[in-house]
Symmetry: C2
Subunit: 358 residues, 2 copies
């Protein structure tokens, strides 16, 4: 007997990859249910060659569902995830809504799979930019400790959804083919669909992802700070981020500077990363080998290279971390969490409902 | 009586902007001479509406020249700049060849104009990525001191010349219009024309600019380290860089983290930058105001925003620094140096030749 798995947001950029990851997964799946908003309900998608009609998400959608993967925005998760839990499903939520909730484990399986044990019906998948950084840093943290992180990101537009991909391609077409000055390109989505102003991404770099918080960091930047502390279970790790969108369709890159607690020899750091599950070392300057976004697309692993000592700080290390933001950054990490729940016999109805029905 | 000004490399991406900057300059120019390699000699360009035929650069090209602006690669400067000096010209060299030479002032006029006084015939224009960072950091260094810099760059392809622009546009056309997978795009120039392997830049971020040095940093990264120390006349400033090319045609962006010697209140930092010549403060998160590459193109100023305290380090500050790499990063900084030489009456033949004729 396999599971009934629901995908909420099946028609989105991440939803499409969730379907693919689920098709390729070791998870025993008997049935899938594709759920969406009114706009996409009625569309027909497939699962392992079978047609599946997309249904409207309602409070009653989750009867008989064992695992519900949510990736349809924070408000959809806020509204429906508790109903899924109440119906007996385990929720893996890919939005930011529950990530800082103390009742919700925030999981990167390679790093803190053990935290799944205390789940109360909802497990959160971290932000894309956090996940890949965690895979690169955990092998270092384990051996030498982690004092501090300063990260600058080079994030792909697919992290902002299918509409952002469409907008980027349209702008590039206008700029490259029609010769429109990049400054004059129209924008309606990026840098953040929910914010007041929109700017072109073609031939640009936008130092804003998500909206600004009160401290002049963006929510995306604060996600990297807060999620790192929660996943690594250490509030003392210092993390400051600058999150930047660049005209890349998929594949997030990150320039990561860290300070370890103990001095970490570079050769041993490389070995630790090469041996860490989910991480791939791509680091040979003599052969111009380093991670690249275009090569990471389609892969589940996190690629790490350009590992080198800071020129001045004895415990300082720089590195370049690249992963497919739709896979390890979202769909694969979510399905991987589902696989781990299965392996640990944690796919089961929750006895006590701790999440508020709205 | 005005000057005779030679532009060596007049047909390149920077050369074209040098002509424009010179046309708009306050420098009294009587005559221009456009010099190039064999490949471009004979082409006809213009200066203030007059036709000027491009001549082949030879050891004898500089007779009668008062100011020679070089931007045709390090080997051309190495070979011909001493002949220009011997002929009585003052050279402003935009290549890296003479930058670390103790006889050569390395100048960002807003920062160390005074160092022009000791020139011996050749003045070097710093690397594009260094120049804009200097304009942003000097007002802070002056008031609170500068202990440390960690910078990650988002550099435009025009920094690698006209061929790199052409290659980028071609790749984007193939990817956007013909649907070629970015991974399969052909590349012959980037990341570095002089290196063995070439990678696509369309939909990619390449963590290599220039070739690698022995310490696993690239030359571009080491330029930022060494040039900062020389320009700021302080070998103790700690600088580590990660230099990255992104699919932007013009306009370099930089995520800069600094630690000051004294605690610098953010409001005062913003004021210092706003009041510094050549710097423009663009920083209002509530209105989504921050520097953008597409807006910086065509301007001589360096734009600074996203200025905020590090979340943990009391003396740590993050900022986002953007400038037109062909203007402030190259052509404008070179012509601006020429203007300052004129104002200081330093356009004069050098008595003793300290540079080797090759």
């Amino acid at each position: 007997m396999g599971y009934t798995v629901a995908i909420v947001g099946a028609t989105g950029a991440v939803g499409a990859q969730m379907i693919k990851m689920l098709e390729e997964s070791s998870l025993p799946v008997d049935k899938v249910r594709y759920l969406s908003s009114t706009r996409s309900a009625g569309k027909v998608l497939s699962f392992k060659g079978q047609e599946v009609t997309v249904e409207l998400t309602t409070e009653e959608s989750f009867s008989g569902v064992d695992i519900a993967l949510f990736s349809a925005g924070g408000s959809t998760s806020a509204k429906f995830a508790p109903y899924a839990v109440k119906a007996g499903a385990v929720v893996v939520d890919n939005t930011s809504f529950y990530r800082q909730n103390p009742n919700v484990p925030l999981i990167v399986p390679e790093v803190n799979e053990h935290a799944l044990e205390k789940h109360k019906g909802i497990i959160a998948c971290p932000n894309c930019s956090t996940i890949q950084m965690m895979v690169a840093l955990e092998p270092i943290r384990q051996k030498w400790g982690l004092e501090r992180v300063i990260v600058s990101t080079y994030q792909a537009v697919s992290g902002a959804g299918a509409n952002a991909i469409h907008e980027t391609l349209g702008q590039l077409h206008e700029a490259v083919v029609d010769g429109v000055n990049p400054k004059d390109l129209r924008a309606e989505i990026l840098p953040s669909g929910g914010d007041k102003k929109h700017y072109p991404i073609a031939f640009n770099a936008l130092a804003q992802i998500d909206v600004f918080t009160d401290n002049d960091y963006t929510y995306e930047e604060m996600k990297m700070t807060k999620e790192t502390k929660k996943i690594m279970e250490d509030d003392n790790i210092k993390v400051s981020a600058t999150c930047v969108r660049i005209p890349v369709l998929s594949g997030h890159s990150e320039s990561v500077y860290i300070e370890t607690k103990a001095v970490a020899p570079i050769a041993e750091v490389k070995e630790a990363i090469a041996n860490f599950p989910g991480a791939v070392l791509e680091d040979d300057p003599s052969q111009q080998i380093y991670p690249q976004a275009v090569n990471a697309v389609g892969h589940r692993e996190t690629f790490v290279g350009r590992i080198r000592k800071d020129l001045d700080a004895e415990k300082g290390i720089h590195m370049w971390v690249v992963a497919d933001n739709l896979l390890k950054g979202a769909a694969w990490n979510s399905v991987q969490i589902a696989e781990k729940l299965h392996e640990r016999h944690l796919v089961r109805p929750t006895e006590e409902l701790v999440f508020e029905l709205k």
